[in-house]
């Protein structure tokens, strides 16, 4: 019975993933090798060159997406870790309340959040307009339609997905262990580095997985907050799929993106000192 336990635990999710993820992915893999057009039909030609073509056309956007996703992930880690730390160790009986408050803005539709951000960050709006009025900012200063806005938007939108898993891992750490470590090591920094940080690494790994991957694939922030040179790969996939009806290119790009992300996560896992990425993900 005990040997069966993991299989029984995994079974419902397996079924879900097999039917609703694997089957469509196989279909997508097939489409990515077809040629033709939506009107005359597509035919399977095992056209592996679809991948090369898509990559040669859109590698700037792909690289840019990885860069933005990476920058946003680092920003989230820097901003989010202290928050997770404080809630886990000092949140007391209000821990779950703090977490809930962090997530609450995301229960309201992204359209409303976006419109509000555009209102707040407008060139001459409530914030920058006032600062410009005081002469603190040059007249042509703007944030919207810049790279900074896109990376900032990604950071904003995925931050809770970084904070929550780090919190979940840290919350497990007994504060007395931390205190003991502080007694043991000369400085608090050393105590943190040698005791708290290693214990939080599973949470950091989970957080990075849950933010870097979707942030890199995200089309919305670039579309709303970007300027003329901030297009990300998610936008390209959207255009190829919905406007150009070029299903093979869209599928090939999606697979390429997934493969690149997988490699990225693998390198990251190696950097964390784990041989096998899948094992790392499990730890």
């Amino acid at each position: 019975m005990r040997r069966l336990t993991p299989y029984l635990l995994a079974l419902p999710s397996w079924m879900w993933l097999a039917i609703f993820l694997v089957v469509p992915m196989v279909a997508m893999a097939s489409v990515s090798l077809q040629t033709g057009n939506a009107i005359d039909g597509f035919a399977m030609t095992f056209s592996f060159s679809n991948y090369g073509d898509a990559l040669s056309r859109y590698s700037p956007q792909l690289l840019r997406s990885l860069l933005y996703g990476g920058l946003a992930t680092v920003a989230m880690l820097i901003i989010g870790y202290p928050v997770a730390y404080w809630i886990a160790f000092r949140g007391g009986h209000r821990k779950s309340v703090y977490l809930f408050l962090l997530l609450l803005p995301f229960f309201v539709s992204f359209v409303l959040r976006t419109i509000s951000w555009n209102f707040l960050l407008s060139d001459n709006g409530i914030l920058f307009g006032t600062l410009k009025g005081w002469g603190l900012l040059p007249a042509d200063f703007h944030v919207l339609a810049t790279t900074f806005a896109v990376v900032g938007g990604l950071t904003y939108n995925f931050l809770p997905f970084m904070i929550l898993p780090i919190y979940v891992a840290l919350e497990r750490v007994d504060p007395r262990v931390v205190e003991a470590a502080q007694d043991l090591y000369a400085t608090r920094t050393a105590a943190f580095r040698r005791v708290v940080l290693p214990l939080s690494l599973p949470g950091v790994f989970a957080g990075v997985l849950m933010t870097f991957v979707p942030a890199t694939a995200d089309p919305i922030n670039a579309q709303i907050l970007g300027g003329t040179a901030n297009t990300m790969i998610g936008n390209i996939i959207q255009t190829e799929y919905l406007t150009n009806l070029d299903y093979p290119t869209a599928s090939a790009l999606s697979f390429t993106l997934m493969a690149v992300l997988l490699v990225g996560i693998f390198i990251y896992a190696r950097a964390l000192g784990t041989e096998n990425v899948l094992e790392a993900a499990a730890r």
């Binding site: 089957v23 469509p24 196989v26 279909a27 997508m28 893999a29 097939s30 489409v31 077809q34 033709g36 057009n37 939506a38 009107i39 005359d40 039909g41 597509f42 035919a43 399977m44 700037p60 956007q61 419109i115 555009n118 209102f119 407008s122 060139d123 001459n124 709006g125 042509d140 703007h142 919207l144 339609a145 579309q223 709303i224 970007g226 300027g227 003329t228 040179a229 297009t231 936008n235 390209i236 255009t239 799929y241 919905l242 406007t243 150009n244 009806l245 299903y247």
Partner: protein
Amino acid sequence: MSAAGLALAACGVQGQKAAPPKADAVEDFWSKQTKHGKVVFANWPEYMPEDKGPLEKFKQDTGISYEYKEVIQENAEFFGKADPVLRAGQSLGYDIVVMTNGVQLQHMIDLGYIVPLDHSKLPNFQANAGQKYKERAYDPGNKYTVPYTSGVTGIAYNTNYVKEDITSIQSLFDPKYKGRVGMMADAQEIGNFGMFALGIDPEKSAEADWQKAGEKLKAQRDAGIVRKYYDQSYIDAVSKGDVWLCMAWSGDVFQRQLAGEPVKFVVPEEGGTIWTDNMLIPKGAANPVDALMLMDYLYQPTVAAELDEFIQYVTPIPAVQDLLREKAKTATGEKKKSLEEMVESPLMFPSEADYAKLRNYVKLTTQQEQVYNPIFQSITQA
């Protein structure tokens, strides 16, 4: 079903190109259809007064009950959703669908996803639709669609920042507005404006013209004149002054003017385009006869006036202007004021001179599309 089989079913290996319907086939189809006493209407949100007045009257007059669904958010996503269903020969579950002219509507037509209309059952349309709405390049002779509501693509500018009267499309290319110009991301829309700037009529354009327009637009981009290639969000940007002048849709600008925001709209002297949201009957619709009756019913001027007063876009029925003018005379207070503004606004009722400047979109074949789209997408999505 094997995974591979599913893949084939999923993306339709078989050709779907529809042979153009023969006239007698259309007749044959319609002769077999009967009235069912119900109709399902799929539309965009905020495209019908909350009391559903026009639909209620239709029900009283014809005894046909209706289901009205606000299920369309974007043309591209709607097509993305409809395509596999219609490809599989299944029904969308709607009898009337509203789509904007553009690539997706063109694909609907090319793929044979639309039931050709029986014009003998559209007397109100024949009698009341404006001439411009009967001559549309994307659907000659209104074979598949009739307009629901329209708008004009022109230039909006913020009068707090732009102190001159904008009349020409060249202003969008003027270096003195560097970083303050907004263009549209849609390949058709931006392509049209690139061509207007070069004195080319988009409706009659060919590949060489697109290339030239592409170069013109690329230079505009490289000079840093364009701040951003916008979707619907342009209107906020121009009314707040993030961009000072921008390609724009008339209906949006009119709403902002009513709200007292400092935006003006102009159809540039080189030309502007007219876009139309169209009613159509998707293949597999359960109640085509009832759908046709409703389409025609909406072409009664009194009904159209009620709709247009709510939607505040350009109506395809010229008689509406007089009806609203009459209504303004008997109205009082705020209501009177807003009705008068509507009647007088060239944004709801373009003048003859404006109409003369308006052009249609170029109609593209699939092969042409594969040339046209990359030219402009490589600029807007660099």
